[in-house]
């Protein structure tokens, strides 16, 4: 076997290094999950060392969908960088839109009209439901249930139809603008959103009946991948992953931006930080998003949807700023350095998925392969966001 030079069973750079790190006790198997694997959702690659079905070590390998989003910011004008933000995390594109737009607004001291803030809240929360629905379906798919994802897509299609009305696109939105949004909400949007909310309230119990209560699913999630708070802090995990461990940290509440302080909503938290808690937190968050949307729809002010005083050329003063929003996966941060020219000097994107992913390596140790897949799914990873 060793005589064949063209193909090495020892693997490539990463996996060969990985196997050298092993204890060399013999009967372990180095298995390469991904970058094309049904449960790595895109192009994540995880190298695992298996003893039978038990995972001894797991190590994520990143970078397969690195597109240099941060570097691209340095060669584009502020406004030209907008479409990039829809593509960093394509599942919650509007939160990324918001983080970038918010950072520029903060640096320039731009006012956002009240109506625009409400529009942003409504669309961003709708997008969050979209994202959680897809996670829900994909997670159950990871656990071997084929049907729920299609029920989730049923609702998600309606949401995307709704979001298509003001944004014009269905996935990679580029909707928020400096000082507002690019189009006002129409009457059809408002009625369709209200209809959707009514429908969604009947769908959630169905989801719980089909999946949440299911004995098999509970067996796959309960006490799997319990994440202690200390460990979550160590890795900088945020979003539902952190809240599942019982820390009620939500940027919308603790560093309120926009008009989130005007709405009454709960921050669902878990207890043990296992996969089931993360699951419950996300399911509860969808209901909270519905609550926020309802309140926003009922108290939406009139007025312009974009600040009319926004200059044509966006030239923020020299300086730096940081703006964070709560995305579906956690705290999305944009750190922006301007040198006063038309292009950003440096833009740093803080992707929540990146921090959440690295919890996996430690959580997966000692579990069996099927649990590792369950943990990976429960972290709700979007690989383009992690690699950027």
């Amino acid at each position: 076997m060793l005589d064949k030079p063209s193909f090495s069973l020892n693997g490539d750079y990463y996996s060969s290094r990985f196997s050298q790190l092993g204890k060399g006790e013999g009967d372990t198997l180095v298995l390469n999950l991904g970058p094309q694997h049904p449960s790595t959702h895109g192009v994540l690659r995880v190298i695992v060392e298996l003893d039978g079905e038990y995972v001894l070590r797991a190590e994520p390998v990143l970078g397969y969908i690195h597109r240099m989003h941060e570097k691209m910011a340095e060669v584009k004008t502020y406004i030209q960088y907008l479409p990039n933000m829809g593509r960093v995390d394509y599942l919650h594109a509007l939160a990324w839109n918001w983080a970038y737009v918010g950072a520029v607004e903060k640096l320039m001291g731009l006012e956002v009209p009240a109506r625009a803030e409400y529009i942003r809240v409504i669309t961003c929360e709708l997008n969050r439901i979209c994202s959680h629905l897809l996670w829900w379906g994909a997670y159950v798919l990871d656990l071997g249930g084929f049907t729920p994802i299609l029920y989730a897509f049923d609702d998600r299609e309606i949401l995307m139809d709704i979001l298509q009305i003001p944004t014009g696109s269905r996935l990679t939105y580029c909707y928020y603008r400096f000082g507002g949004v690019s189009a006002d909400l129409t009457e059809t949007f408002l009625t369709q959103t209200r209809n959707f909310i009514e429908r969604f309230k009947t769908r959630i119990p169905m989801y719980h009946d089909l999946v949440t209560g299911n004995m098999i699913l509970r067996g796959r999630c309960e006490d799997i991948g319990a994440l202690p708070v200390e460990m979550a802090r160590r890795y900088g995990a945020t979003g539902p992953v952190l809240r599942g461990s019982g820390v009620a940290y939500d940027v919308r509440r603790f560093e309120p931006y926009s008009v989130y302080d005007k709405f009454d909503f709960d921050i669902p938290v878990g207890k043990n930080g296992d996969a089931m808690d993360r699951y419950d937190v996300r399911m509860a968050e969808m209901e909270q998003s519905v609550r926020i949307i309802e309140q926003a729809l009922n108290s939406m002010p009139d007025g312009p949807f974009v600040n009319p005083d926004v200059p044509d050329r966006i030239l923020p003063p020299a300086g730096e700023t940081y703006f964070a929003v709560e995305g579906a996966r956690g705290k999305i941060g944009v750190y922006l350095v301007s040198d006063g020219t038309a292009k950003p000097y440096r833009l740093k994107l803080r992707a929540p998925g990146y921090s959440n992913l690295h919890v996996f390596a430690e959580l997966a140790q000692g579990t069996i392969l099927a649990d590792a897949v369950s943990i990976l799914g429960s972290l709700d990873l979007v690989i383009p966001e992690i690699d950027r």
């Binding site: 584009k76 004008t77 406004i79 030209q80 960088y81 907008l82 479409p83 990039n84 829809g86 593509r87 049907t147 029920y151 049923d154 139809d161 298509q164 009305i165 944004t167 014009g168 696109s169 990679t172 580029c174 603008r177 690019s182 169905m206 009946d209 089909l210 999946v211 209560g213 299911n214 004995m215 098999i216 509970r218 009319p308 044509d312």
Partner: protein, 178 residues
């Protein structure tokens, strides 16, 4: 005792799950059966851009060749070419003037637009749709609203060339609705 209770509850949850899928089984399809049906919400879809014709002359675009769209496009997929027509007087000149089209505020403030009332004529407007990211910045920055989104979603082509659109020709070939 609790184990047995838990097991019974678990078994009941399995039956509940079957009930849900069983109910859905009896309901009609919700997918759009594509070649036989088509989606109905295309008017809100933002496809590639198209030129807007003048209200009086449907074969000519509103475009004033200010090239802002070309400049703002993040992907550099728009090419606008135009020329300043030579000595033209009388009615021909009057036609080229688009002063009857009201300019939005931002354009009026712009020295380029406001000064020469655009005597330029559009010769070519090409869009390389392969690289377009559908952000809509070009439509937004157009001072005379000469760009709009088409709702063209049924796109299929054999090569990249098929998606390099000559928008001016598209405008001229467009059928005028009566």
């Amino acid at each position: 005792m609790t184990t047995i209770q838990k097991t019974l509850k678990g078994l009941w949850s399995l039956i509940v799950g079957l009930k849900v899928t069983g109910k859905e089984f009896c309901k009609p399809w919700i997918t759009v059966h594509y070649p036989r049906q088509e989606v109905t919400n295309l008017e809100s879809y933002r496809g590639h851009i198209d030129l807007v014709p003048r209200p009086d002359e449907p074969k000519k675009p509103l475009c004033i060749v200010c090239k802002r769209c070309e400049e703002v496009c993040p992907s550099g997929c728009i090419r606008v070419e135009g020329h300043v027509p030579g000595e033209q007087t009388g009615e021909a000149r009057q036609l080229l003037l688009i002063s009857n089209v009201p300019l939005p505020n931002s354009a009026a403030r712009d020295p380029i637009c406001a000064a020469d009332k655009t005597l330029r004529v559009l010769d070519g407007f090409t869009l390389n749709y392969n690289y377009c990211s559908l952000c809509g910045l070009c439509v937004q920055c157009c001072p005379v609203s000469s760009l709009t989104f088409s709702s063209d979603v049924y796109l299929a082509g054999g090569s990249r060339r098929d998606f390099e659109y000559d928008l001016l020709r598209r405008l001229k070939n467009r059928k005028i609705k009566v």
